[in-house]
Every structure is written in C-alpha cells, then in structure tokens.
C-alpha cells in the first residue's frame, strides 16, 4: 500500500466519522441542508486554493467563516429567515467562484479529490477532526435538549447562544475538511446520509450518534477503497457507499 493512499484512508475515516457524528445533531436541529449550502458557500475559497495549488480545505475555512458571519449579520439586520439568507449567500458564492475558477479545476471543486494528500494535511485533518469530535461530544446532550426546548435548556443554565456559536464553528470546520473528500457539491450528503441511516436503526441517542460516526467512517473507507480499485472519483463513491448503507438501514428500521 503506498503512503499517499494510506493518508487518504486515514483522513477519509476521521473526517467521515466526525461528519456523521455532526450530522446526528444537524438532523435533530432540522439543519439537514445547511451542510450542503455551506459546502457551496466555500466555493470561492476552494477556487482560490486550487488556483494557487494548496489544499482546498484551507481555502474553504476562511470562505466559510466569512459566509457564516455574513448570514449572521444579515439575520440580525433583515429579520429574514436563516434558510432564505443561507440560500442567498450560497448561490452568490457559487456565482463568484465560477467567475474565476479554471475549467480544469471545476471537477475537483465540485466532487473533491482525496488522492493528493500529504503528511501535513493528514496530521491537521486528523487533529481537527478529533478536536471537533470532542467538542461536539461535550455539547451534544445540551444541544439535543436545546433543540427540543430552548426554554428548558436555558432554565437548566445552558448558554444556548454560546453553544449555537460553537456548533456553527464545528459545522464550518467539518464542511471545510469534508470538501477535500467529497467536494462542495456532495458535502451535504457526507453529513446527513450516515446520520439518517443511523437514525433508522437506533434505539437510543448513543446508538444514533455513534452509529452515524461509524457509518460515516465506513462510507469513506469503502468509497476510497473503491476509488483505488476502479479508478473512479472517490467523492461520489463515498456518497454512494453512504447511500447504500442508508438503503440497507431501511430494512432494520426501528418502529
């Protein structure tokens, strides 16, 4: 096994795992499509990264933070629903990116490229995935309670605004990392599909969140192995692996 491929597998498994875990929270908070929208909002940053030849994730992070701050700012000043603002920001981002994204790089931007990963990328991706996972694990139960009843959470002395901000930052980091694996077009599926599959089969929250983590990691592992075997793009194979697991989960659906 060559080193490059090993790096891809390690990065894929860690990012897939944390994306699945995050997805279990996002579905509960009815934010299933936010990952998708943010994946698109990152496109201008990805475009710059590809033009200057560095890892798209490192370009995506500032673009995502700018996008989130812009949505937050517009929400305060317009009173429009967040989904409408997210829609405006992400389509504007796509439009900007396609003004200067070279045609040869379009496919990488949209469906990712896990094959060009070095040791530095691997260390940073694994470390960030672990940090985000630990942060999410710490706020997980508070976030679930707040999503059921924000009043109840606040009475229990949970700082819901602080938690929401931390959660948004975690989404931005996971989306930025995931873009390397699946590209901006498919990023939403990496967050949502493993969590949806886990939810079908789970009897409790623990099974749901950690099931989503395991399914996310397995989907990336399978997708990258198929990529090696069939020389097809890894991003779509990762998502199709997750989608297949989702279909299988329907047979084990808990009533």
């Amino acid at each position: 096994m060559d080193l490059q491929f090993l790096y891809s597998l390690i990065v894929g498994v860690f990012i897939g795992g944390v994306a699945g875990y995050l997805g279990s929270l996002m579905i509960t908070k009815r934010m299933a499509l936010v990952g998708d929208a943010l994946g698109h909002a990152a496109l201008p940053g990805i475009a710059i990264a590809l033009i200057y030849g560095f890892n798209p994730s490192w370009g995506a992070i500032p673009a995502l933070f700018f996008g989130i701050l812009l949505i937050w700012f517009l929400e305060i000043h317009t009173k429009l629903p967040m989904e409408a603002l997210t829609g405006i920001v992400f389509t504007a981002s796509v439009a900007i990116a396609f003004l200067f994204l070279p045609e040869s790089e379009v496919s990488i931007a949209l469906i990712g490229d896990i094959s060009k990963i070095n040791l530095f990328d691997t260390i940073v991706s694994v470390t960030l995935s672990l940090i985000v996972f630990l942060i999410l694990k710490k706020i997980f139960s508070n976030m679930i309670l707040a999503s059921i009843s924000e009043d109840l959470a606040r009475v229990e002395h949970i700082n819901t605004k602080k938690h929401s901000f931390i959660y948004l930052v975690c989404i931005a980091i996971v989306v930025a990392l995931g873009i390397k694996v699946t590209g901006s077009l498919l990023m939403g599926a990496l967050v949502i599909t493993p969590a949806a599959a886990a939810r079908n089969m789970a009897s409790n929250l623990f099974q749901y969140s950690f099931g989503a983590l395991i399914i996310g990691a397995i989907s990336c592992l399978l997708g990258i192995l198929f990529f090696k075997a069939f020389s097809l793009p890894a991003g779509p194979l990762v998502i199709l692996s997750a989608s297949s697991i989702f279909l299988i989960s329907l047979f084990f659906k808990k009533r």
């Binding site: 309670l145 009843s149 789970a202 409790n204």
Partner: protein
C-alpha cells in the same frame, strides 16, 4: 427583602414589540407557598413564568432569594418525530442519580422499569410526556417549581392522581410552587395565594377572597359555576 420571601416582583412590565403583555404587576412569593395563577387565554400567564425565569426581557424589578434552584414544566414541549431519545437518556441530561430519577417517575405514576426507561420519548402519548416532564422538573429536588399548565393533555383520572400527589408532596416537602392553571379545583382551594391575571393583576389574595362567582365572571368574562 423580607426573610421568608423567595421572590419579589415590583412594577413588572413586559412588551412584545408595541404590545404590552404584562402591565405594572407586583406580588411576592413566600417560602413553601403555593401560588396559583389564573386567567383567560392570552392573559400573559406563560409570559409571566418565562419572565420570572429570565427568558424574556422586562422592565421593573424581579428579586430572587439567593441560591434558589428552579424546576420548570413548560407549556409547550414536543419531541421531534423519530428522535431516538429514550427516557433514561432524557433524565441523564440532568445528571441525577438513578434513585432520584426512579423516585420522580414513580411519583408521576410511571413505573421505572428497564423496559420503560428504554422507551423512546416520541412514542409517548401527550399525557405520558407531560408526566415525564413533571418528573424531570421534580427529580433534582428544586426549592421552587414552575408548572405551566402541567395537566395539559392528561386524562381526568391522571389529573386527579397528579394533583393529589402534587398537593401531598407540597404538604410534605413544602417547596414553593407557582402553578399556572385553567382549573378551579382542589389545588386552588389548597393554594396559599391566587393571582388572577389579564395582562395586569385582577385579583390577588387567598382562595376564599379570589374564587368567588363574581370574580370568576370578571376573570373569564362569563359566569362560571363552582
């Protein structure tokens, strides 16, 4: 603040945009007191509870005694369909000891069996969910309980059981309770004070003073038989 007073409210005003929903309200709650808040729909009862809990901005003065621990049963509580959150995990949000959880569940009439603890909350009926919520609020033994229409969706038999238990518990433990209710039943008779609200204070006093046919007609806008 006087020694036995746990909560003192003075000249409280709450606005939603241009609408004033609570107007110049003053009252206090003593330790171990049961205060029932009555009023028609839209009178500001739930808003008052949320304001006292610090969930809504206000003008005026709300003073709490130090180290007050509050249990709260909100009016609205819905578990998203399909969320695999079971009863045991719900109580673990509070990090209570299992003994306290079991005790609270038994108190509201839910058997704390392994089977019940593994049941997912979204499969509960509205009444069962309401009982669960009451148990949740009680489980860490708060010294003041805020109950916003706790009997919503609970059948008549269940209401009697829970109201009886509530009164019994209150008589035993003597924690302070603020109860928002539409019902003028046994609990009202046991209450120390009744606050009748319709944006502003209509009546405030003992049950004998407040619960009269004339007052109820003023509170609810039509004659109500007792």
């Amino acid at each position: 603040m006087e020694k036995d007073i746990i909560l003192k409210v003075e000249n409280l005003n709450v606005d939603f945009g241009e609408d004033r929903v609570i107007e110049d309200l003053s009252f206090d709650l003593k330790e171990k007191e049961l205060l029932v808040i009555l009023g028609p729909n839209g009178a500001g009862k739930s808003t008052l509870l949320k304001t006292l809990l610090g969930l809504i901005p206000y003008q005026g003065k709300i003073q709490w005694k130090n180290d007050v621990h509050i249990g709260y049963v909100p009016n609205e509580f819905v578990i998203p369909e399909g969320l695999p959150l079971n009863l045991k995990e719900f109580f673990q949000f509070k990090k209570d000891s299992p003994e306290k959880i079991f005790q609270a569940l038994e108190w509201v009439g839910i058997k704390a069996s392994e089977k019940n603890l593994e049941k997912r909350l979204y499969t509960f009926s509205s009444g069962q969910l309401r009982r669960t919520l009451i148990a949740w609020a009680m489980s860490d033994e708060p010294n003041i309980l805020f109950l916003d229409e706790p009997m919503l969706c609970i059948d008549i038999h269940g209401r009697e059981t829970i109201y009886d238990s509530l009164v019994k518990l209150w008589e035993e433990k003597k924690q302070s309770i603020i109860l928002v209710s539409h019902e003028i039943g046994e609990v009202c008779k046991k209450a120390d004070k009744i606050l009748a609200l319709d944006k502003r204070k209509l009546f405030y006093g003992s049950p004998e003073e407040v619960i009269t046919p004339q007052n109820l007609a003023k509170i609810y806008g039509s004659s109500i038989s007792l």
